[in-house]
């Protein structure tokens, strides 16, 4: 009742603004959710239904497509490869990124601001430009077609985020907490372990997951740098033309779901991190 009165009392332009806002939110939601929904519907429908017409908007809960996908030659191998590469990427980007983030937040040094910008600029460099020289270099060094080599490239992609995210995480922890720990008997490392680490752990986990997802979804470098040891994205790209519809849908679904789940789990930290990282 009260709400209605309030809404009625609003001036016309405010009402219009509110309507536009709502319309934009709905449009955005549809933009994101409809493809996901169609993907899910087709994944959980039998291969016949996927190929048939008219399409149904509700899934049949038939696992035919998924089992067909699971049994498809090379899929399980590609899935495992994807997981390994993503795990390696996660470990390396946090292992390298977190110390850099810590240094950026705690120490003043010449060129600090330019360094921060430079870290971000690496993301502006188009990967296709690097593809050929990188492939040649990898072949020379012997890293070509290896999961570790691909993880290195993915680490390069994930590292800027890891650095900037951990930078803002560390900046959110007052220096005084560490200093207090020093005066109470801690060494530098001890203070980090006893005070900073427990506070930063959830945020680190979130940025690790973020790195995992970046690698998991990456397709270009994976396609160029691997031949035998394809990750799932590269494998699907390669076999997209020649594979039947149900396989495409099931593959897409398997790719999307882990990313969705992970991002959903850490969404709180991502919001917080971007909020601070915008500084």
């Amino acid at each position: 009742m009260t709400t209605t009165t309030l809404t009625d009392a609003l001036p016309a332009h405010r009402k219009r603004g509110r309507f536009a806002m709502r319309a934009a939110v709905v449009a955005l939601l549809l933009w994101v959710l409809v493809p996901l929904w169609l993907l899910a519907v087709n994944t959980f429908s039998s291969p016949d239904a996927v190929n048939g017409f008219p399409k149904s908007l509700v899934p049949e809960f038939d696992l035919g497509s998924l089992s067909f996908f699971a049994g498809f030659q090379g899929v399980s191998r590609a899935l495992l490869n994807s997981a390994i590469v993503a795990l390696l990427t996660m470990i390396m980007s946090i292992g390298l990124g977190a110390p850099a983030g810590y240094a950026l937040s705690r120490f003043d040094f010449r060129g600090k601001e330019s360094f921060r910008l430079l870290v971000l600029m690496t993301r502006a460099f188009p990967l296709p430009l690097l593809a050929l020289p990188l492939a040649v270099m990898f072949i020379r060094v012997g890293l070509d077609d290896s999961l570790f080599g691909l993880a290195l490239v993915h680490t390069t992609l994930a590292l800027p985020f890891a650095v900037l995210i951990t930078f803002s995480l560390f900046s959110g922890i007052p220096m005084e907490l560490e200093e207090a720990a020093w005066t109470l008997g801690c060494t530098r490392i001890g203070a980090f372990h006893k005070v900073v680490w427990p506070l930063i752990r959830p945020g680190i986990a979130a940025s690790a997951v973020f790195a995992f997802v970046i690698s998991w979804n990456e397709v270009f470098a994976a396609s160029v740098l691997t031949i035998q040891n394809r990750t799932l994205t590269a494998f699907l790209l390669q076999s997209l033309d020649v594979s039947p519809m149900p396989l495409k849908f099931a593959g897409g679904f398997v790719l999307v779901v882990p990313a969705l789940i992970f991002i959903f789990l850490v969404r709180k930290y991502l919001f917080a991190m971007w909020g601070i990282a915008n500084r």
């Binding site: 007052p174 200093e179 207090a180 020093w182 005066t183 109470l184 060494t187 006893k194």
Partner: protein, 347 residues
Amino acid sequence: MAIIEIKNVAKRFGAVTALHNVDMTIADKEFMVLLGASGCGKTTLLRIIAGLETPSEGEIWIGGRRVDHLPPRQRGIAMVFQNYAVFPHLTVFENIAFGLRMQKTPQDQVRRRVTRTAELMHIEQLLERYSGQLSGGQRQRVAVARALAMEPEVILMDEPLSNLDALLRLEMRAELKGVLAEAKSTAIYVTHDQVEAMSLADRIAVVHKGRIVQAAEPIEVYRNPATRFVGSFIGNPPMNFLPARADGGGRWSVAGFSLQGPTAERPLEFAIRPEDLTPAEAGIPAIARVVEPLGPHLLVTTEVEGQTFRAVLESERRVVPGDRLHLAPMPGRARWFDPETETAIAA
């Protein structure tokens, strides 16, 4: 025994000199307050003593041991920070126990000492809480308890009350004084609040532009400021200053009023605290501009030769804006400064 000796300590940040060769000795169990405006270098000096900052020059000795090359944990100090720095992931109990656990103190002793300091700071009912569930004043108590539980030789405090509201600050100030007197540690306390400094200190060191300009008992700093800055910084309302003309033979003329002063040839600056003035037949001629009845006394802002001149008078006295007053300095209360060096000249 924890005498603190600061020997020729200087600190430079790039081209900026934060501290100019400071020398100071703080006696065992003394309560020393470093007082100064923000950015004067007082916090830098405290952080150098704590080991959180390295001096560019000079030595720090604590209890006869040179410590300037040692990390904070090996200096026998405890510190209370301005924003409390209570660990948010630990309970109040674990916060207070933190230092003791680092020293590998036996569990029963940890429990005993934490309980005792918590009782001392009146936070024994908060021991299971986390920092996020505490008010500013309670956090402050935890921070002090955490430092006290260490039973340190030296306790360092960096504006510990500045984030509290006025009433709480007054309450904590009195409490802190009692607790620290009990603790028998040597204490260094940084503040920009002169009332806090006066109330707490055994000795006040006034820091100005990276130098200690005066280090003396509070009443001495108040009565006999070594420089014009000390006089104007300490005391509320601040000290009055007026130019004085030499009449020869130690006689000085201030706004037409003649009084006895030091023997000097150059013009000096005459200074007087507002409460050291009384209305009299003969005195400095002043025109009342603003009259503020403050309860215990009357604050009258007057104009003397175009300059602001304040007097604190008895509250019964009737003064209205526009009144012409003659304000005479109480005997022995006038102070004299050299306008060039801004240092005090003995009368």
